[in-house]
Structure formats: structure tokens, C-alpha cells
């Protein structure tokens, strides 16, 4: 109590002012419309108020020009709202190349986060300023939602699949992470903090938290530890589909269709290998559903993404 009354959250990412501008544009247009209608209603209520000598009621049936005008003009104005919002949204769902990859796992009622360099945190995330940050999100249980109001950024965290979002922080400070999708008892306490630091401070923070492996290094260990390399090997007689350079390409399946090898596809193929079998291979891979934690799957996916195509295929 007693704090000054703010109308806007902090402006701490590249999206923040963009979203605020749309908000202000809509506020302005809507205020003009609403005021216009309210003024007309009040004016008519007074000017045409009933009195006993009133004999001048005039039946006006309607007016086609008016109807067209007040349908088309609002529609055109609303299309500008749509266009601006869609333009910004396309930017929000398209992380720039070279963004730092962080991994987020939500569970009742905490956030587990991992850095590109392997450091792990719970309910806290340290990121460098002025650097695009891409988050890959999933949940271990129910649907959550990763929301940082000061960044104007939000994405559902859905079990069984990956979602992604990105931001670029523009202001040093600490900002609330909130769970915005109702998730049970302590939904309102599923709170974290993003700490935005200068690059130097961030490097210092990272070096003070050594000892962790990167996600893909941990994934490599898992890959070998689970003997994935027995079948998924870079050899002509491999019983498992080749993984080198597969990420981001179109993969031909046994049923004749193709699928984009993105994070979600890799995840599904690890956990439910029989769902989409690559052309030329048998559905013989064991199902790892329930055998691996979401974090382990994320690490495996991170490792597979590092496997680059060999310059010369040994076909």
C-alpha cells in the first residue's frame, strides 16, 4: 500500500514498447468511439426527453448510407488493429538466428531452468542484456504458462510437447516470472525472477556457477548411456534412422508422408518411436515414455541438434 499507482509494467524488453504502442492506439480509437456514442446518448436523452406537450416524435425508418458507413468504417479501422497486432506477433513467434537457447521445465509449482552453458536454476533465470534469448518450454505435469509482464511475453507450457518463445531484455534489473495458466493449489505462488545482467556480470555469474555440463554434453552422455548409438550409428548397416544433420530437414516416413524434424518431432520419436517411423526402417525402437525425465529428453534433443551432417555420406 502507499506505492505510487502505475498504469504500465516496467518496460524491460524489445517487445514492451511495441505492445504498449498498440495498447495506446486501441485505447485512443476506442475512447473516441465510446465517447462519441455516450455523448450522443446523453444528448438525445436530454434533447428528446419526454414532456407532456411533446408531439414531435418522428419515426425514422433507417438509412442505408448510415448503416454501410458505420459497418465499413469500424471494420477498416479494426483491420489496422489486426494488421499491427499480427505484424508484432509474427516477430514474437520468430526467434532471431543466434539466440541463446535456454530450456524451461514447469512442474507444480516451480520453474526449472537450464542455461545454454549447462547451469541450472530453480525459479530464477540469469540472462545477459541486449541478447535474444530463446526459451524451449515443456511441463512435467499440467499446463502452466511462462509469463514475464515486464517483457510483455507469455507462452503456455504444455505437457507432452514443446512450445517456444523469445525475448531480448533491454534493462538491467529483476523481473517477475508468473505462472499465468491455472495449475492447482499453489498456482499464485509459482513465481520466479528473471535477472537481467550486463554481459560482464553475466559472464562472472556463469563462471561462478561452473561444474555443470551443457545440455548437449549431458545429452551425449545419455545417448551413449542408453546405448542409442548401437542402432543410431553413422554407418550403412545402421538399424536406426541416421541423426546426423537431420534437425530442421524434411524426413520421409514409412507411410509415404514427410515430417519436419523439429524439437517436437525428435521428442515424440524418442518417447513414442512407433508414432512416425522413418522410411526404410522397422518400428523396433523401445518406447522411452516414462523412462526419461523431461529434462533428460530436452538434453537428448539438444545433443541431436548438434549432430551435423558429415561432408561425405558413407552410403
Amino acid at each position: 500500500m502507499g506505492n505510487q499507482l502505475n498504469l504500465f509494467p516496467e518496460n524491460a524488453s524489445t517487445f514492451a514498447s511495441q505492445v504498449d504502442y498498440i495498447y495506446l492506439y486501441l485505447l485512443l480509437v476506442c475512447a473516441v468511439f465510446a465517447l462519441g456514442v455516450v455523448v450522443a446518448i446523453v444528448y438525445f436523452s436530454i434533447k428528446y426527453r419526454r414532456n407532456p406537450t411533446h408531439t414531435a416524435i418522428q419515426q425514422v425508418e433507417g438509412n442505408m448510407m448510415l448503416e454501410i458507413t458505420w459497418s465499413v468504417v469500424p471494420l477498416l479501422i479494426m483491420l489496422t488493429m489486426f494488421g499491427w497486432g499480427a505484424w508484432l506477433y509474427m516477430r514474437m513467434v520468430t526467434p532471431p538466428k543466434g539466440a541463446l537457447d535456454y530450456y524451461v521445465v514447469g512442474k507444480q509449482w516451480m520453474w526449472k531452468l537450464q542455461h545454454p552453458t549447462g547451469q541450472r536454476e530453480i525459479n530464477e533465470l540469469h540472462v545477459p542484456i541486449n541478447q535474444p534469448v530463446r526459451l524451449t518450454l515443456t511441463s512435467e505435469d499440467v499446463i502452466h504458462d511462462f509469463f514475464v509482464p515486464d517483457f510483455r511475453m507469455k507462452r503456455d507450457v504444455v505437457p507432452g510437447r514443446y512450445t517456444e518463445c523469445w525475448f531480448e531484455a533491454t534493462k538491467i534489473g529483476s523481473y517477475r516470472i508468473e505462472c499465468a495458466q491455472y495449475c492447482g493449489t499453489k498456482h499464485s505462488q509459482m513465481i520466479g525472477l528473471v535477472h537481467v545482467m550486463s554481459q560482464a556480470d553475466y559472464d562472472k555469474w556463469l563462471s561462478g556457477n561452473l561444474g555443470a555440463e551443457t545440455a548437449d554434453a549431458a545429452g551425449k552422455k545419455l545417448f551413449e548411456g542408453n546405448r542409442c548409438d548401437t542402432c543410431h550409428k553413422d554407418a550403412p548397416d545402421a538399424r536406426g534412422a541416421p541423426l546426423w544433420g537431420v534437425y530442421g530437414t524434411q524426413v520421409a516416413l514409412r507411410d509415404g508422408s514427410t515430417v519436419l524434424a523439429d524439437d517436437d518431432y525428435l521428442r515424440e520419436s524418442i518417447l513414442h518411436s512407433t508414432a512416425k517411423v522413418v522410411a526404410g526402417f522397422e518400428p523396433i525402437m523401445p518406447l522411452y515414455d516414462g523412462q526419461l525425465t523431461e529434462e533428460q529428453v530436452l538434453q537428448l534433443v539438444a545433443y541431436i541438434k548438434t549432430l551435423k551432417a558429415k561432408p561425405k555420406e558413407t552410403q
Binding site: 499507482l5 502505475n6 498504469l7 504500465f8 509494467p9 505492445v19 498498440i22 495498447y23 476506442c30 456514442v37 450522443a40 446518448i41 438525445f44 428528446y48 426527453r49 419526454r50 407532456p52 416524435i57 419515426q59 425514422v60 425508418e61 433507417g62 448510415l66 448503416e67 469500424p74 483491420l79 488493429m81 489486426f82 499491427w84 497486432g85 499480427a86 508484432l88 506477433y89 514474437m92 507444480q108 499440467v142 499446463i143 504458462d145 509469463f147 509482464p149 510483455r152 511475453m153 507469455k154 503456455d156 504444455v158 507432452g160 510437447r161 512450445t163 508468473e178 505462472c179 499465468a180 491455472y182 492447482g184 493449489t185 498456482h187 499464485s188 505462488q189 513414442h272 515414455d289 516414462g290
Partner: protein, 549 residues
Amino acid sequence: MSSHAATIRPGPERSDKPSYLTDGHTLKSWLLTVDHKRIAILYLAAITVFFSVGGLLALLIRAELFTPKGDLFDSDTYNKLFTLHGIVMIFFFLIPSIPATLGNFLIPIMIGAKDVAFPKINLLSWYVYMTGGSMAVLVIVLGGVDTGWTLYPPFSSTYSNTNVALTAMAAFVTGFSSILTGLNFMVTIHKMRAPGMTWFRLPLFIWAHYATSLVMLLGTPVIAITVLTMAIERVFHVGIFDPTAGGDPVLFQHMFWFYSHPAVYIMILPGMGVISEVIACFTRKRIFGYAFVAMSSLGIAIIGFIVWGHHMYVTGQSTYADIVFSILTYIVAVPSAIKTFNWTATMYKGSVSMDTPMVYAMCFMGLFLIGGLTGLFCANLGLDVHIHDTYFIVAHFHYVMVGSAMFAYLAGLHFWFPKITGRMYSEGPAKFGAIIIFIGFNLTFFPQFILGYLGMPRRYHFYPEEWQVLNVLSSAGAMTLGAGILLSMLNIGWAIVAGAKASANPWMAKGLEWENASSPPITANFDEAPIVTEEAYNYPAQLPSAAHH
């Protein structure tokens, strides 16, 4: 135009036949009635109970949110409070409110029929509603449910430890009362119109209910399937929505909103119908652009079926789907704008009288403006990423569902009160109540727009201290709103027992229910079957000498 020849009939002299209220006094004559008017009263009584329960739950929620920490309830109890508030208000108050009470009572009379097309199905729909309602009460008695009214899996189907399956079945069963009512209205409007009552002579209240019936008939089966499959997953562990069993949680949201977005129009369209009737009567004008207002109801009902994905921008559904849903959502705003402009234009050169129903209608106009226009914020892709699932949304839909739908319901209850009861309420307390409700409502929900933009998510039990000022304002508003509603209910309740006798047409309004039926109507509605020879709202240029005031 024939308005020079137009007259207003003061309504029939008191008939020697008994009114629907005095035609049988036993409990059985009420519980086994097939008279649409008595069924409307049965609905009214039940809905009033559910509305009171839902309102009480709202007051408990707002009482808790006076402070940032949970002082009154633990988090589990708080979660049950908002869940039950949503379920009771949506399924047991808002959806049936105007159609099942005013619609049931008025549709046959307004089109000049003796009853609805299927009177026994009409009674059945009330029993189905009461069965669903009893199941909801049982949920409360057994300890409640904590999933939020949206029942999202896998939380609902796997993780919640409360009475989810019973709640789903309550919604499932209640849905059938909605389907039966919609079916009945649609057939009634098609087949039972009096001679001369052509489609474009129908009061706009009828057009609005026709559009509503369409949504009820086509949409409700989908929610029934959705909640049933969720309950099946929960009870029998069949993987439909839970990803650990091979299901898809986002599929549930598609199915849920395929009904639940059109359901918003089930709640608001009948209210728009009420507002058209009230504005015509209290300006003594034909509704400006009658055909546009009528067709915009159908437009809303049809386009409303293809905008559901705007509830799901941040779920990770296809970006192209997001874009299509956004543009369709902007398009569905056009018919609402058309209605608003036409209502405003109706007042032009009219004779405006601010009786209680008109006061409610004017409040409706202001609140619907805010509710509708803030919908444009939520439809906006870039902006919705920020305001989605925050108090901005809570404020937006309360402006539509309470500010608009409930105000229209109160406008209608006051407008047709003399027709339904044969008595008149006291104007002073009624107007005073309306003003208190209006002030309380805005104080409750306006600060929530700001809270939402600041980033307060909905369904939060704890919140940071810097948001307390706005939350205290909102809670104080809720208490004011509660007091206003209580006052209005007492005023109406008192008028039912002790109000002055009302004439058949106390507002000197046009329409068969005023000009051809007594107050209260006889069981068969009319002494002789009416024949319609004029357009709707054919008000004369002169004020009738017997007009109210």
C-alpha cells in the same frame, strides 16, 4: 409509413378467465404444468437461487482479495470458490437466465401463440436443468471442485483431487435443458406465429432468441461431448487429452471453446433482444435499421462459431490459425457495432423517458461499449500475448457477461414485471438500486483492466503488495454491487406481494404481450387469437394521453 394511423391499444379489460397465476393453486399444478408462463416462473425461482449462490461466492472471492496474502481461506478453498463461482454463474445463471425465464414467458405471447410448440418438452427441460443443478449442489456439499470452470486437462482429468467427474456430468446434463429449450424456441418461432406475423414483423427480442436457439442447438452437443470425454478419461483412464496416456491437452481446448465462445453469445444475444424492446418502448420509436439489427443477431450467431481459437493464441497452436482467428474475431465485432449505433440512432427525435428499464438499458449501452471495445484488445495478437489470462480478460468478460447480460436481464425483469406479476414495483428504490449496481459494477471491474495490464494473472490467491490499492477498490466495488442487487431483489420481492395492481399496458407499449394480453395473462394467453396487421414498434407520432407519467 402508416404511423399516422398508428394507435396503441391499452390492452384487454380484465378477462373473466383465470390468469395463469390463479389457474390452479396446488403444488402439483405448478410442478406438472405445461404452461410456458408457469415454467418460466419455475425457471426464474431456480435461477434466482443459483444467482444468489454464485454472487455469494463472488463476494467471498473479493473479500479474500482485500489483502495480498490469503487471510480468510487456504489456497485450495480459494481455488474452489472461483471454480464454483464460474460454473454456477455460467451454466446455471447466465446461459438460461433470459431465454428460460423471459424467453419462455414472452416468445409465445409476442408471436401470438397459445404456448410453445412442445409444452411437455418445455417442462422436461426444467427438470433436466434441476437435475443438473442438483448435481452441482451435490458437488458443493461433497467439498467442491478446483479445476476452474474451464476444466482444462490434464489438471482436471488426472491431477485434481476434487469432484471433477460429477461436475462434468452436471454440466453435461444441464446442457440438455439448453438443447431442448433451443429446439422448442426454434420450432415455435417457425410454426406458431399468428396470422400476419411475418418474419420481418417479429419483435427483435424474437430475432435475438432465434439466433440464440441456433447456437444452443448446434453448440451445446459439443460441450456435452467434451466434458463427457474428459470425465471418461478421468474415471476410466482412457487417453484422450492427457499426454502421458497418449492424449492431446490442446485438443480439449479446441473442443471446449468451440462451444464456450458461442456460449458467450447465448448469454448476450437475448440481452440484446431485451434492450431493443426497452429502447423502442421508452423512446416511442421503431428501432432504427430494424432489419440490420435483426440480421446482425444471426451474423453474430454464425460468425461466432468460427472465432474460438482466439482463446488459444499462446497455447502453441499454428501461427496461421492464430492469424485467421484474429481477423475473424475483428469481423464478428462488426454486427455488435451495428446494433450499438442503431440503438443510439433510435433515440434521435424520439420521446425519451428514463423509467427503470430504460435506466438499465442506458447502463447496458455504456457497459457493453466497454465490454465490446476491450474485446478488440483481446483479439489483437501482439497485445493479447501480454493480457491473456490476466485480470484484463476477467474485467473484459465481466463487462460483457455482467455489465451487459445481467443488466439486460434486470432491464427485462423490470420492464415485463407488471406483465408477469400483474403488479408494479416502486420506481424510486428500483432506480436507486440500478444506480448503485452501476456504480458498484464499475468500481469492481474497471480497476481490473489496470491490474491485468500490470500483469496480475487471473485465479491468483496471493498477489504482490503493490497491487493492493486496485484490489481494495475492486473488492469495495463488489460489496457495493452486492448491496445494490440485494436492494433491487428486495424491492421486486416486496412488489410481488404488495405492489400496486398493474394495467394490461402500463408503459403504453406496442407488442402483442402488451396490447392483446392482460396482466398477468390468462392461461391461453389471449381471449381471441390475435391477427397482426402492422409492423413491430409502430408507435404513433403523438404521446397517448394514458401514457405512463
